[in-house]
């Protein structure tokens, strides 16, 4: 089927149970997912190596050999080692080997109190730091049952969308770079510089901002915030048009991406793949619509799906989502209310500094928060947000003390990597590069 004959990506205004009844939205049935699950295996490196050795011994080896792709490799998007069994240029089997970037973030968070642990959350998915902050903050706030004021809610949505654009720009640049379209990389990073300037303006740091904290925002938004962000948002749609002009109808791009790396809906759900990868397979699952957080139910935006689940569709879905992110950010910026930027509960957020001089309670709250920190009740909370990679979840367990007993990140990249063997079996190694880039893994959150 030529690209002109393929159905265009669909836009869904909202996903509710009634939409499921219409012809447009159809979730795979559990029977399909079960059937797909029974066909799929995710091999470990040991299995690939041993299977190849067994075939070599028994003489049925057909020129295939096991090679390492990575961990140092320009196209594996970080320190990812793929143990690939290749027969010429065709991938026979492959197994991802991860753990090269494991720094024990989850265990370190158990040693720090809830407020201090937020700086570690930036470093998991380092391309979407504010979204990681947000998921952790939401999980802790759910434990605390803490109310966030409207200004902070809207600012959180705005920063989530700006971070999403940031993440997608890096995805676009590196994906194009892997397929040798180097100009797109430079253009994407030019826009990213503007975003990093905005982050530096608000929080002081370009990337590892720790700006969204349990209880609200770290600091209030600066005076120049609105015009700076407005300038960026006005500029962005034409820039996205530029990227599309370079790639969408480009015959080389289409040759490399159409029909490559197909992952259909049932396989994706069996493998736990979420986010744009799942939406490109036709399943309109977006955490912002399914489990709204931070007031997302009040914004008007679409969930974009495509039908074929190949690399080209994932590209189209993410480009359209970049435009939607600009749209949501614009709505947030227009509706940014005045007011406090953090909760007024003094047990969670410190009082304003001036009050300490004349109020004993404020002084005590300040003292307790700085020396000990807040203590959520015993319990656990699992909260999810839509990150640039899929459903990012944070599972926090509290034992009533000031330090999290366990904090686990459901990292979408870690789970999506399980789809690589299934997608690339029997295909060319050049297609493997394209598929891996289109899944958009970030090794920081794979390994934590």
């Amino acid at each position: 089927m030529s690209v002109a004959q393929r159905p265009a990506p669909q836009l869904h205004a909202g996903v509710s149970a009634t939409d499921v009844a219409t012809a447009n939205i159809r979730y795979p049935s559990s029977a399909e997912v079960v059937a797909a699950a029974r066909q799929i295996t995710v091999p470990s490196p040991r299995q690939v190596i041993e299977a190849n050795a067994r075939r070599a011994q028994s003489g049925t080896l057909d020129e295939s050999m096991v090679l390492n792709m990575g961990p140092q490799h320009p196209s594996t998007h970080g320190v990812l080692r793929l143990v690939v069994e290749l027969a010429g240029e065709t991938v026979v089997q492959l197994a991802p080997d991860v753990g090269f970037l494991h720094t024990g973030i989850e265990k370190t968070m158990e040693a720090k109190n809830y407020q201090k642990a937020v700086v570690l959350t930036d470093r998991t998915d380092y391309l979407g730091p504010m979204i990681n902050n947000l998921v952790y903050a939401l999980a802790v706030e759910q434990l605390l049952d803490c109310q966030i004021p409207p200004r902070a809610q809207v600012a959180r949505v705005l920063f989530s969308e700006l971070t999403r654009i940031n993440s997608y720009l890096v995805w676009l640049g590196t994906h194009a770079l892997d397929l040798a379209a180097m100009s797109v990389f430079l253009y994407a990073f030019r826009e990213r510089e503007m975003l990093l300037d905005i982050f530096e303006l608000t929080s002081g740091a370009r990337m590892m901002t720790s700006y969204i904290r349990p209880g609200g925002l770290a600091y209030d938004l600066p005076v120049e915030f609105k015009p700076t962000v407005q300038h960026f948002l006005s500029l962005m749609p034409s820039r996205i048009d530029e990227y599309e002009a370079l790639l969408t109808e480009n015959p080389i791009w289409k040759e490399r991406t159409v029909g490559v790396g197909i992952l259909n809906a049932a396989d994706a759900l069996a493998l736990g793949v979420t986010g744009a990868n799942l939406r490109a397979a036709g399943v309109p699952y977006d955490v912002r619509k399914a489990f709204p957080y931070s007031g997302y139910e009040n914004y008007d935006f679409q969930v974009i799906t495509a039908q074929n689940g190949d690399v080209y569709d994932r590209y189209l879905v993410r480009i359209a989502e970049m435009r939607e992110a600009v749209n949501i950010a614009q709505q947030a910026l227009d509706n940014l209310p005045d007011g406090p930027y953090a909760t007024s509960d003094r047990k969670i957020w410190p009082p304003p500094k001036e009050e300490i001089t004349h109020s004993m309670e404020s002084l005590i709250h300040h003292f307790k928060l700085w020396t000990e920190g807040f203590k959520p009740p015993v319990g656990d909370a699992y909260v999810t947000v839509e990150s640039g990679r899929g459903e990012l979840g944070c599972y926090v367990v509290s034992d009533g003390s000031n330090k999290p007993w366990r904090c686990h990140f459901r990292a979408p990249s870690f789970i999506t990597l399980q789809a690589v063997p299934h997608m690339s079996k029997g295909n060319l190694i050049a297609d493997l590069v394209a598929s891996l880039a289109s899944l958009d893994p970030v090794l920081g959150e794979v390994d934590r």
Partner: protein, 174 residues
């Protein structure tokens, strides 16, 4: 068509009365404490039942509740996309022989996640295709995220203590 926690609980208990050891609802999420050997059946039921349809296994993670019996716990979060509903299953594992049946063959998404729980906590998943370490090097000894393991193995060297630390290194004896 929205699912309620009470309805889900009733449906699961009607089918698996013996398996559910305890229930909890904290901040709106239903959590079921299960008998370990019943986990594959309950997970399959949650996925295949026409009323429930929890087709996405979102998260598998381990927790070390040191001082509690059973010491370890593996938590599974299932999502029903059709109903926008989430449920948590919790399975306990003993300290001496922590074993939990694996669901990786039926839910391939659990393959890597069960390997991570094994790597970090030492819980063996019976029936997993290949339970190899995933984050730590293959020849690592120990299970890092257990509460009995230390956070750091070496003291951090600064200029004021660098010479003391250097003197205790193996190469300093020469």
């Amino acid at each position: 068509m929205a699912l309620e926690n009470a309805a889900v609980l009733e449906r699961v208990q009607a089918r698996f009365g013996q398996a559910v050891l305890g229930t909890g609802e904290f901040r709106g999420t239903l959590a079921l404490q299960l008998r370990p050997d019943t986990l594959p059946d309950v997970a399959a039921f949650l996925r295949e039942d026409p009323e429930l349809q929890y087709i996405l296994l979102a998260n598998v993670c381990g927790v070390d509740y040191l001082g509690r019996e059973p010491r370890f716990e593996v938590v599974y979060h299932f999502t029903s996309l059709m109903h926008n509903h989430r449920i948590a299953l919790k399975v306990g594992a003993d300290e001496d022989d922590p074993r939990v049946p694996s669901i990786a063959r039926e839910f391939p998404t659990a393959t890597f996640q069960e390997r991570e729980v094994y790597d970090m906590f030492g819980i063996i998943f019976d029936g997993h295709p290949d339970l190899q370490r995933i984050l730590m090097p293959e020849d690592w000894d120990g299970f890092p995220q257990r509460k009995t393991e230390p956070l750091v193995y070496e003291e951090v060297a600064f200029t004021f203590n660098h010479d003391e630390i250097d003197a205790q290194k193996p190469y300093a004896k020469e």
